[in-house]
């Protein structure tokens, strides 16, 4: 348990990934699903920064900047889609969007 090594950060990242995955698969509200995806991206960020510090290499942190940029772009587009969906169907629940189901 003590001292804290890189393995602790990687295990924390794995647990956070699992919590985010459970959130994506379990909740009905699309907004909570999107926020759980942000949790998964944060788990990846923790992983990258831990390795960047362990290997004394700055490339991991540059990757984190690109992940944060990508998360911002994806949040904007996903929320735009959600607004368009809400304007047409008046629901934000993932299992009520079933017009194309057989």
């Amino acid at each position: 348990m003590y001292p804290v090594t890189t393995a602790h950060y990687l295990l924390l990242s794995a647990i956070l990934l699992t919590i985010g995955t459970v959130g994506v698969l379990t909740r009905r509200n699309i907004l909570v699903i999107l926020m759980s995806i942000e949790l998964i991206l944060n788990a990846v960020n923790i992983n990258l920064v831990a390795f960047s510090n362990y290997l004394q290499e700055v490339s991991g942190q540059v990757f984190v900047i690109f992940v944060i940029t990508d998360a911002a772009a994806e949040a904007a587009v996903a929320l735009g889609i959600l607004i368009a969906l809400f304007r047409n169907k008046e629901t934000v629940h993932a299992d009520e969007v079933d017009i194309l189901r057989w």
Partner: protein, 183 residues
Amino acid sequence: MLLDSVLFYLFAILILVSSILMITRRNVVYAAVWLINALIGTAGLFLLQAAEFLAGVQVIVYIGGITVLYLFVIMLVPLREEMLQRRFASQGWIAVICSTLLLVLVSVFLFRGAGSFEFGEPPTPPPLSQITTNSEQVGQALFSRYLLPFEMASILLLVAIIGAIVMSKARGAPGTSISSMDN
């Protein structure tokens, strides 16, 4: 070293408790606030790993930009009816079991280790004369070696802005037409 460990466990407990509370809240605004909590814990972990520029970027961009954007869209959804709905999908327990299996698999591989790196060694900082600030290191790498991904990220943001505006733009008043397809 002891302070590093104590701070790591504090931030780790903050992140895990906030994220578990985030995915189980009935009130979506509370879920967004717990997400902000988890992101603050992540920024603290970045500070512990000597990445202070990334901690600042995390707080300013992620918390101050992305979660505020989520809160704007959450405010568009009526909250009272939303709190009366069912929270979890019908196959919730299968998802929890499969995700726990995924976590067990990842942990097994983590602790067995691949042969290429070894765990259990604390990171070695560079000698005192060669320490440059984190912002300087990230800036030097971002504008020399990763210049092409940097420019592509700016094009990605432009495309995302155009897409979000086009998709969420309201239609014109009845009688007028915004798009030429209505003629």
